[in-house]
Point group: D2
Chain length 341, copies 4
């Protein structure tokens, strides 16, 4: 990182669905970044994506990208189970780090990732993109301005329209990879409060045949905060009507809501009633938010701000997810202070 001017030179690790989208943002939508290289273990994938996006290099081994001296920052969009090791390796190589959620799958790994970045004095930002969505960010500003008083009841939900591939889902996926967004959102919309305990119920309602393998597709989590606020997080993997992400915070002086599955402002009035089209893809619903968070990361790399959301934010959201998994297993409320593994 000898040169601190000009676009940030970024390497992308992982060229799947969201990795590819991040690559396009880095190469085309964000003037403050250049996409220098892409890494992906699938034969030919990295070279192909690098070529399409005008990046100079395609690596099959992420380690090669991480040690590439032309690269000053990495965006990690690999499968979740590799996230922590990649964060640590990138930190040791002196790269600024943006990592998709979840940063880690255990508290020990979360601590390892945080420690590596801290030791190296490098920016570490986590992909909780909803913080960058216009409506959610406006809601947070209202809260900060006192517009709802003290939060008392919160809700965050994620309903994915796409169904899911059972091969890609593991026990815990709905908590560790989906609801982890909602857990971060709920913490962020209740500023300063800490989670006390968690109760979760979950089931395989979309595909009951996979229940035996633990592939839960529907979940509701109740979270108590130390300021008394009670939050609900909710997820489902098969929303027929679109990609539905909403938040709601009710407080002593009012309420804010954010999120709307309707796509755009066209309304069609016809013999059957009034209709709106809906958004079907997360990269449509959060197009601007996904892009803005990487632009924000680039600014962080240039030292203009501290990176947010942080590794600590990822650790806190993970603790809630792990408590929820334990609660589903035990059927009981789980105190968050006990979550350490």
């Amino acid at each position: 990182m000898t040169d601190n001017t000009g676009p940030v030179r970024v390497g992308l690790i992982g060229s799947g669905w969201i990795g590819r989208f991040h690559g396009e943002s880095l190469a085309r939508r964000i003037p403050e970044t250049d996409l220098v290289a892409v890494a992906d273990p699938a034969p030919g994938a990295a070279e192909r994506v690098a070529g399409e996006l005008g990046a100079g290099y395609g690596y099959t081994d992420a380690a090669d990208l991480i040690t590439d001296p032309e690269i000053e920052a990495v965006v990690i969009a690999s499968p979740a189970r590799f996230h922590t090791d990649l964060v640590v390796a990138a930190a040791q190589a002196g790269k600024a780090i943006f990592v998709e959620k979840p940063m880690a799958l255990t508290i020990a790994d979360a601590d390892r990732a945080i420690g590596a970045a801290a030791s190296a004095g490098l920016p570490l930002q986590v992909g909780f993109n909803r913080r960058f969505a216009t409506g959610f960010a406006a809601a947070r500003r209202i809260i900060d301005d006192g517009g709802i008083g003290t939060p008392q009841l919160l809700r965050s939900l994620t309903r994915d329209p796409g169904g899911f591939d059972p091969a890609a889902v593991r026990p815990g996926t709905i908590f560790l990879e989906t609801l982890i967004h909602d857990f971060d959102t709920l913490r962020w919309l209740n500023p300063g409060a800490s989670v006390v305990d968690v109760y979760a119920v979950a089931d395989a309602l979309v595909h009951p045949q996979w229940r035996d393998r633990g592939l839960l597709d529907t979940a509701v989590v109740t979270i108590r905060f130390d300021n008394g606020a009670i939050a609900t997080a909710e997820a489902n993997f098969s929303a027929a009507y679109g990609y539905d992400v909403r938040g709601e915070v009710f407080g002593s002086a009012g309420m804010v809501t954010a999120g709307d599955v309707r796509a755009g402002d066209m309304r069609h009035y016809h013999a059957g009633g009034v209709s709106s089209p809906t958004t079907r893809l997360n990269i449509d619903l959060f197009r601007d938010a996904y892009t803005q968070q990487l632009a924000d990361f680039a600014a962080n790399v240039r030292g203009e701000r501290r990176p947010v959301p942080t590794g600590e934010d990822a650790r806190e959201a993970l603790a809630i997810a792990l408590a929820a998994i334990e609660s589903v297993r035990s059927g009981a409320r789980v105190a968050i202070r006990k979550v350490t593994a």
Copy 2:
């Protein structure tokens, strides 16, 4: 009207679609009125409706109802061409008068109706029910409170879903019976201003085959007021999606809108998008407004308030309608002061 306590004893003239609804309101929905008698020239109609609604008498001749000493007020819901004569007869018989729009079809008749009620010192109220609709009334209050500053641009529209019976439509119907609502609404939402001139275009777009008979089903009217405000009134007789009545007033400090064709607050999210049901009948859209205006009339009869909208309001709206008809004929702007016949 010797007895000024207890419910107002009302006679209903006309038992068609809207007359029947008014009868139900008088008999059942408004504690402050009793429905004493019904008149309708169709054989058996008055007796049947009177029986169903618990009214004591059914007359085939409205004159008998008007001179019935038990009756202290009449609600006139006959075909429009009889309105003026019925108003005059009722006034001469000493009855308080509620008359459906249009009160008259010529300025001379309007003056005759106003004069008869004034001479007799009797309440005369006209059925511009939108003034009693919750949303429109709230809009007017915002205007009165200065919430939009000085009105500059206004819009009022009526789109009827039901299609229409060409036998019941005459040249002028869309202006004299439909848009007359919008003309009153526009005047009422621009308090204190007077109409300067009118330009109208109209056509037979729903049923082109009736154009030759002058049965216009689609119209747009531009109205200039002496405070500079410019208003648009719009009507169509065949809205596929429901009964659509909306108002909009834009002013120097803001805007108010009123009216929503959506029926209730249920929303259905499905694979095709998000849908709302719509309202199909004026007596559903304006159920409360139709009822409230008669409750208000009953209060007027008991002397608690002056009747509004007045015969003068009806005359002013009629003048706009007549100017619009002349404008369609001539293709030119018509100054409102010239409208006298």
Copy 3:
């Protein structure tokens, strides 16, 4: 009940806030009922309300009303703790019964009420008015028509703007008198399913000083059904922005929502943004629903339909409320089959 024609002759027990409103409905808004008498133990209250509403009799002792031979049906709107005894007494006196929620505060009392009405062969209807609200009823029709597939996630919430009088609140009030509406709504919007277990958290967030007295003002309840559906019920006693009651049912093929705190269709656009007024009173939000349920009751009394919601519905909702109270106490999930006291 010798005469089965003409309006149903109703006696009203309790002339407080909601009793008074029911009295007005019976006397003025519902042609199918006559308000014959009012009972209230407060000195002079029954006579005053009876006088104002045109009812013939005012009793201080409800027993006198119940045995009044002119009365064929009672509407019970007394404080909740008297409901069961009044139901039983009315049943023994041969009166058809409409009772406000909660019908009973214990399962034993619920069984006693149900048994008394069943033994006497009398209609027994419970005041879960939301079933009669336009939006909620439309949502249920969509569900019945298969428009959302199988319910998987449900939500029902009640937020009361009025604050509350601690003298009128007892431990359990938020579950037994407020959330009991939501429990019924959730059961009704998940037709055919039974509740498996309940987890509840609650706190005194509006008035922390009353926490020691057990006066909980904020609660979230998670309910599992035997068809796998997971429901959340939520309540708070001090909503700054209005009377907010909403429902949401997400299923395998879509979603329905109902409820909107906005009052009417006026929108005000001004320098600060776009604003809507909100509804502040339950009798404004549910005006039509409150009235419609009594009109429906009158039809039930005349034998046209079986009364719904039934005493059994009230018992089921009560079981959820009692389980929620136990869950708050124990901090654990409570199986619904264990709720028997």
Copy 4:
């Protein structure tokens, strides 16, 4: 234009408000374009903007930019009165042309611009950006799919929140520079129909003191099409609540609407009601549309599609604007076929 691969090399003429925004789009937001040079007669302006946006050259004389051999396309965002000459010069220099509205201020100039581009065989696209707005484009697709039947009533409005600088406003500005958007929108949303005649009223309501100088700030235009449809276009220069652009098309089988002044999906519920923030700038309201139209232009330059909206579209919209100006002057309806100067 020897090289037909790689990003289109664009020169920007005019670096004011909208020119600057277009420059950012060309340099940063659209991968398919490179911003090569900027021209602006203001001393230092072109060089400064070129520097900020990474363009290689800043010219004070647009003629130098137009003849720059490195440039293959120009984006003309100068003051309106220079548009036509710049189009002609660019066409003669062999550059593809994107020109902001209005392309010309007289029919003769419009013909001159169209002719120059046609003679040179060069793409000519006009900046009617609303065609690229999500909601408006969705509305057009519904119309194309038959979702509203035959258009019968149309509306398009523009209300600018910013007030205006009288030094920048000339008689005709509201028609030639603002409503020209609405005229194009109305034509585009009534596919295949031609305008028959125009009636317009306009006034100086925001700043009455400038009425004598002809600086009209409020206008309503009624347009008849040869398929019978009747359209209204409406504009005002001082909307207190935001940048409000809406369209509505009512047809024989339904209606579509587009446009919403509300900014994002956050809603704030508070003691005063429910509030939404609003959009205040055209470059916020149409951010994506402004960008998309230039991306579309780049594709046109690469020969992938014919440029739309065309010079002929600009000529048709201009004819409506000129007819409206004549109608305001004369107070009479103006047939569109007579508009030739």
